[in-house]
């Protein structure tokens, strides 16, 4: 496999007067796990559907394995749509095998693969169960297995974690890692940043139909202003002491037994450097806590708190596609 499985160039999609995606360019590198992040309504699902040719873009170009999305290039893709759906009267095994066959597997191979996947994910007791008899989470697991049954080179998962309990979210994370280890490229959308932090090599952030960030996790965190908190005994002026060392410190709170000071860290300087400077300044330190950088903070820094609040809405709450 060579080249980028997916390249979007200045892609725009409108639904009537509403512009769902504006000038999105994206290059998904081979063999990586990419997180497609953003609140509901950011244009993630629309972008993914355009990537697969389900809906055509109004402007721009989509290249899937170097071609416009077509039935042959799509055979190398496993797609889990945001709106889950299966045939309710089919059994779990039939479902997985059926979608694997639609992707080109032979009947025998598809059935064997369905068995293998169900055994591996603890669904062996539900092989002959109809989808209508399965719980929502269980049916979702079946759909995820159906997505990757044909061993695709490229997995596109739209909000794969939504609707899963914590145990099954972990199972899915393991599956994604296993597929990645197999060599698959994975692009998944989510509005829950923690999954991306744990899984992704690279992230793409979307807000209001526009890309607001595209880079690796360290690059994302590097864009944040970092800091640390140091607690010292009451009465010690840490601000003056650290100013001499080139750090800006502000008294943040009186903790009763001491004062908490907030230290702003210049670029390229780590929290340990601030701690070392405080010790050298003879500060009576009672506590130390470096800031823990989160992707959510990165998103807030990029789009503002109001926009980021939409991250907390349930999946699919805003992302409706008008006809």
């Amino acid at each position: 496999m060579a080249g980028s499985p997916l390249v979007l160039t200045q892609v725009t999609k409108r639904f009537g007067a509403f512009t769902a995606v504006t000038g999105l360019s994206l290059d998904v590198p081979e063999g990586k796990i990419i997180g497609f992040l953003g609140p509901n309504g950011a244009g993630k699902s629309t972008s993914l559907r355009m990537s697969l040719g389900v809906i055509p873009p109004d402007e721009g170009e989509v290249r899937l394995f170097g071609e416009r999305p077509n039935i042959l290039s799509l055979r190398r893709v496993g797609f889990l749509p945001e709106e889950r759906g299966l045939y309710k009267k089919m059994t779990a095994r039939e479902t997985i095998a059926y979608f694997a066959r639609l992707k080109g597997m032979s009947a025998g191979e598809a059935k064997a693969r369905a068995n293998e996947l169900m055994d591996a994910t603890g669904l062996e007791a539900f092989k002959a169960s109809r989808i209508s008899k399965l719980s929502k989470g269980m049916a979702q697991k079946v759909q995820i297995l159906a997505t990757l049954a044909h061993r695709p080179d490229f997995l596109i998962l739209d909000e794969p974690f939504s609707g899963l309990d914590p145990v099954n979210q972990q199972v899915l994370e393991d599956l994604i890692r296993a597929e990645h280890a197999r060599g698959a490229t994975i692009l998944f959308s989510t509005h829950v940043m923690e999954h991306a932090e744990r899984l992704c090599d690279r992230i793409v952030m979307m807000a209001r139909g526009r890309k607001v960030f595209d880079g690796t996790l360290p690059e994302a965190f590097a864009s944040l202003e970092k800091g640390a908190s140091i607690e010292v005994e009451t009465g010690f002026d840490l601000g003056t002491a650290l100013a001499a060392k080139g750090f800006a410190a502000q008294r943040a709170a009186d903790r009763g037994h001491g004062d908490a000071w907030r230290i702003a860290l210049p670029k390229g300087v780590g929290p340990q450097d601030a701690l070392r400077a405080a010790i050298e300044a003879g500060a009576p330190i009672t506590g130390f806590a470096p800031d823990e950088a989160r992707l959510r903070d990165v998103f807030v820094s990029l789009v503002g708190e109001a926009e980021a609040a939409a991250l907390d809405a349930p999946a699919g709450a805003q992302e409706g596609v008008p006809a």
């Binding site: 639904f15 055979r75 709106e83 759906g85 045939y87 309710k88 059926y98 639609l102 596609v321 006809a323």
Partner: protein, 457 residues
């Protein structure tokens, strides 16, 4: 092709595994069986009823009895003529049907005396033992009225027989008064110039096939009619499958998954084929049942099997079969696509039900056209209607036995093909909008306007 097969197979098995399919499959044969058994039972179990005629002599009673005998002989003669036409010849002999009304001597001479017998409170003796009277005829004193008295006013057979008998009696008496014999009219009828039916053919054909009108001459019209009706029935049957099937997939949100695996035309083709196969399976099973029933009946009715040959010959004739098949396939695809596209715009069964009425009206129009074409294939209405693509599949089949001009057939087939392709193009657009983008019925007008506007622009 593989994807079409996979979609077809899944949908077909999905339908066939449902209980409703088996119930529908069993319903028609069960209905036919129950209906025919019931009818047979009704005929056989119809009781023999007693009646009496109160009159000074025995003239009217004899006239009614004679009328029954005449009708029975006429009925039997008709039956024998039909069987001889089928080739059963002298094997057609059989017994006369048992008479269901039997005359008995009056147990009383007036209405009050007869009342308990007519109301079932008393019985009279007769050839089948004691029974109450079903009816009594009482001649009025002036001899101008033969009153019919019965407790059951819904069975009129006996009264009608008596009425015919009285007419016949009056005619015979009038002829006798004029000095003519009773069979004078019959003799006069026999002397009338006959008008036999002949079929004009080319000289060569005439030498080979003769000029008699046989079942083989009429069979093509019936075969074409059956094909047109069968197409109509198929189209009628698929509505619910296409509507419900599409609604299920739309509500299951499955289209995105499917459309990353198969092309839209493959998806539609697979679905149409599956529904076609489901309805064909039903029709085939019903047909087999009917054929088995016919085969069984033909063992009971000598010569009935010979009736089938002209119909089989007509069905196999290229003149009927080729336009018939082309019309059938194109008509099925055209209507199937329309219903499928409409179904893709519905979210719920309730919403689909609101579509059923206009769909039924759409389907009733060809049915009216079929009816007119069957009655009068040369009607200008049919000629014009055949050029309307929605009617063409049905009417072209029906017109074929009447040798329409070849250019008309070819142009109409071309028109049908063009319409089918236009419907295909439009349906795919609508289906995509409904299935992929969640468009609803309310968006149909806007979509149509958009498509036509875009093309015009």
């Amino acid at each position: 092709m593989r994807n079409i097969y996979l979609i077809f197979r899944r949908d077909y098995l999905g339908y066939v595994k449902a209980w409703g399919f088996w119930l529908s499959l069993a319903a028609v044969p069960a209905l036919m069986l129950i209906g025919s058994t019931f009818a047979l039972f009704a005929i056989q179990s119809s009781p023999v009823r007693y009646y009496t005629v109160v009159e000074p002599g025995h003239v009217y009673a004899d006239a009614i009895d004679a009328q029954f005998a005449v009708d029975e002989i006429a009925e039997k003669a008709q039956e024998m003529a039909e069987q001889i036409q089928m080739g059963a010849g002298d094997k057609a002999a059989g017994a006369l049907r048992e008479r269901k009304f039997v005359a008995v001597p009056p147990p009383a001479r007036d209405l009050d005396g007869l009342r308990p017998y007519l109301l079932g409170e008393a019985t009279v003796s007769g050839p089948l033992g004691p029974k109450p009277l079903f009816a009594a005829f009482i001649l009025s004193e002036d001899g101008t009225t033969l009153e019919y008295w019965s407790d059951d006013v819904n069975i009129n057979t006996l009264r009608y027989e008596a009425r015919d008998a009285m007419r016949q009696l009056a005619r015979t008496e009038a002829l006798a008064a004029a000095g003519l014999s009773a069979d004078f009219i019959e003799t006069a009828d026999d002397a009338a110039v006959k008008v036999p039916e002949r079929r004009i053919r080319s000289v060569a054909d005439q030498e080979q096939a003769g000029n008699e009108v046989t079942l083989a001459d009429r069979a093509p019209v019936f075969v074409a009619g059956a094909m047109a009706y069968f197409l109509w029935l198929m189209v009628f049957s698929i509505i619910q499958y296409l509507l419900m099937g599409t609604i299920e997939e739309r509500s299951n949100k499955i289209f995105d998954t499917l459309l990353t695996s198969v092309r839209m035309p493959e998806l539609i083709a697979g679905k149409l084929l599956a529904v076609f196969a489901v309805t064909s399976t039903m029709m085939a099973v019903w047909g087999l049942f009917a054929l088995s029933g016919s085969a069984f009946l033909s063992t009971l009715v000598p010569g009935a099997g010979d009736m089938i040959t002209p119909f089989m010959t007509a069905a196999a004739s290229p003149q009927i079969m080729i336009p018939g098949l082309v019309s059938f396939v194109m008509g099925y695809i055209m209507y199937g696509l329309i219903f499928m596209a409409l179904g893709s715009l519905c979210d719920t069964i309730q919403e689909a039900q609101t579509l059923l009425s206009p769909m039924m009206i759409l389907l009733m129009l060809p049915m009216f056209a079929i009816f007119i074409a069957f009655q009068d294939p040369g009607s200008p209405v049919v000629d014009i209607a055949t050029w309307v693509p929605l009617f063409t599949p049905f009417l072209l089949i029906l017109r074929m036995p009447h040798d329409p001009p070849l250019w008309e057939v070819i142009v109409q087939m071309g028109l049908m093909l063009a319409t089918m392709l236009a419907v295909l193009w439009f349906s795919i657009k609508v289906y995509r909008a409904g299935a992929v983008n969640g468009a609803g019925i309310g968006d149909l007008g806007r979509m149509l306007k958009g498509m036509l506007g875009r093309r015009a622009g």
